[in-house]
Each structure stands twice: as C-alpha cells, then as structure tokens.
Symmetry: C2
Subunit: 196 residues, 2 copies
DNA sequence: GTAGTCAATGAGTACGTACTCATTATATAA
DNA sequence: TTATATAATGAGTACGTACTCATTGACTAC
C-alpha cells in the first residue's frame, strides 16, 4: 500500500525533511554560499548523507527554494485584502514577507550566484502578489484616486523599492528588521506617491 | 627626482595599469567572482605577477572599484543639468550610467559577495548623484509641480527602480542594454509619478 | 665592465569543499 | 532465524583557486 510507510521510509523522509529545514535556516542566516558541510553539521548528520537525498548542492538549493516559493505564494494568494485601499494591500504584502525576511533578503541579494531555475521561482512569487496589487490599484484608477501609469510600471516601482530596502537593510535599519522598521513608511510613501 | 621615472618603474606602472583595466573588463563581462588566473591570462601576464602588484584578490577588487567610483563620481559631478526639469536630470543620470552599464549591473547584483569596503564606494556614487537630484526635485516642490514627499524617499524610490531594472536586465531587455531599452520609460514614468 | 636591484615568472603549496564509495547497522521479507 | 535491501556513515578523492618563492634576466649605479 502507498499509504503504509515502513519504518525505513519514514526515517528517510524525516532525514530529508531535517536537511531541508536546516538548509533553509542556514541560508537565512549565512546566505546561500554556505558550504554543504555546515548544513549537515548543523543538522547533526554525516556529510555524505546529504548526497543520499540530494544529488548535488544545487539540487538542494532548488528544493529549498521551491518549498519557500510555494509557501509564500500560498500565503500571498490567501490574503484577504479585496476592496481594501492600496496602502492596506501593501501592508499586507509586507506582513507576509516579514515571516521570511532573512531568507528573502538573502535570496534577492544573492540571486546572481544561484542556479538559473530559481529566477523563475522569484518571478512566480511576484506574480502571486501582482494579482492583489492589480486589483487594488485598478480600483483606485477607476475611481480617479490613483494615477494612470501602466500597472506593470507601478508594480516594478514597488518591488524595486522593497528589494532596495531589503538589500540595504543594514543601512536603513542597522541590526534590526527593515520591514519592521521601515515597512509602514514604505507603504505610506508609495501609496501617497501613486495617488493623484 | 620624483618626476623622473626609470625604465623599470615605468614598466611596473604599465603592468599595474594593464591589470586594473583587464580586471575591470573581465568583471564587467563575467562578474566579480571571476578567478584571478582568468584575469592574468586575459592580461597576458603570469599569474604570480598579479600578486606583485596587489597583495590579495580582494585588494585588486577594491582598487578596481575605487577607480570606478572615482570616475563615475567625477562624471556625475560634472553634469550640467542645473535648472533643468526632473526628467532631464534623470535622463542625464542614466546617460552617465550607460557608459558603465555592465560593470555597474554586476556591482549592484553581486554586492553581497564583495568586500565590505565597497559598500561605502557605492554610497559615494549615490551621494554624487543625490546633489543634482535634490536640486531638481526641490525646485519642483517649491513651484508646486512635485509632490511633497521626503527627498530621501523619492531618491530611494528612483535608485531602487533603476537597480531593479539593471539586476533583471535579462527580463526587461533580453540580450540588450536595459538602460538603452527602458531608460526613457523609467525617467518618464518616475517624473510623472512624483508630479502633482 | 661589474655588482646589485627588482619586476616578472611559473612551478609549487595550502586549503576549502563538492562529491564518492566501501562499509556498517538496521529494518524488512522469507 | 536467516538472508536481503537500504539508510547512513565518514574517510577518501578530485578539483579549483588564492597565494608563495626560488629563479631569471633586464635595468641601474658605481
């Protein structure tokens, strides 16, 4: 039976899970360039064991990122901010990202040294958000409170601002969370900016 | 005499110069993670020779970046866009960066893996630009054509947008120059956005 | 001309780290 | 109970790359 899992298979799945969780934590704190032996050490397993579960380091990175993207996309998708103001919607966006700040920060900072595939994952995260963004902004545009600039440009300005603050978190909020520290200011400034 | 240089000293200076220029070119095309042996090969000198002129790889990177920052700062400083519109000023900014697009693009994309000191250099480049930005925007704010948001926030929104497009150049302008392709749209959209 | 200096060389070293594989221990099947 | 399958191990290998250093040969000072 497929539902019935032997002790061995359960153990294997548990180890794989342990690696994935540990890697996500390590990538959050030390960045994606962290060597594999640090991850296995942190996970309390042998170095070789990692390669029983993931054929290459890149394979592991992709798996971690896929899970992350899935999780964030789900959370973003479930946001109930329909008919809210633009600023509310932006705050909700920031609220979700706060849960992943360190990881997301490293992800956008180090995209250049990550496997190509991960680019697509980042795009899918943005797409998940763009739906709510579009809804709120278009509503504002229809009732004449928001400027008539192309939606994609407004979205890119918002994402660009967000990423800029995340990447330079140590300048804008030294030793602290940028989203916590500057999130409100960002949402507020941006919504003022796009309003007529 | 210090003005009098022996043949030897001239040769040494020429080699150092050759390394710096080659490194800048290589960093532009392959990024800052390119190994030192690629640079020396490209420069047509022995690998060991590099370490006669630069004690470490990091030392070379910093020297290259210092020269770059100096050059860009000078060009930005010399911009004669006083009393021009905000959009003109932004176009001028883009015009300068076009000359360094590949290098600058890699710089903002890979800041995370570069030595700490280089962060300061990037800041100094932004500072050089912020003067013109402030002048143009404040003039607009005084005569009531530009929104009254804090100057630093407007500047960060602009830089964030610019960097976002540079970092994702392959999405916005595949196989081409983003600044060439999207520069006008960026300057135009941003100036529309901040106008009342 | 001779001795000393120094830029340049390139083979060699040190080191980190991704990945392998023979072995071990444990669960499952007979 | 015995035999087989396999998850996990960790010492070992391969490889890339930053950096060293004894040697060379062109320049300089005397």
């Amino acid at each position: 039976m497929s539902a019935e899992q032997g002790k061995r298979q359960l153990q294997k799945e548990a180890t794989r899970e342990r690696i994935l969780r540990t890697a996500a934590a390590v990538y959050s704190e030390r960045g994606f360039a962290t060597p594999t032996n640090v991850i296995t050490q942190e996970a309390g397993i042998s170095h070789g064991s990692l390669f029983v579960h993931f054929s290459t380091r890149e394979d592991l990175q992709i798996s971690v990122l896929e899970r992350f993207a899935q999780e964030v996309c789900d959370e973003l998708h479930d946001l109930s901010v329909n008919n809210g103001s633009v600023e509310e919607m932006l705050r909700a966006h920031i609220g979700v990202l706060k849960n992943y700040e360190l990881f997301y920060r490293n992800l956008v900072s180090e995209t250049a040294l990550l496997p190509r595939e991960t680019r697509t994952l980042l795009v899918s995260v943005q797409s998940a958000m763009s739906h709510h963004f579009g809804t709120a902004v278009e509503q504002g545009q229809r009732n004449g409170t928001v400027k008539d600039l192309p939606l994609h440009m407004l979205f890119n300005i918002w994402i660009g601002l967000l990423h800029y603050y995340l990447q330079n978190g140590d300048l804008f909020a030294p030793g602290s969370s940028v989203l916590e520290q500057c999130g409100d200011e960002l949402a507020n400034s941006f919504s003022k900016l796009i309003s007529k």
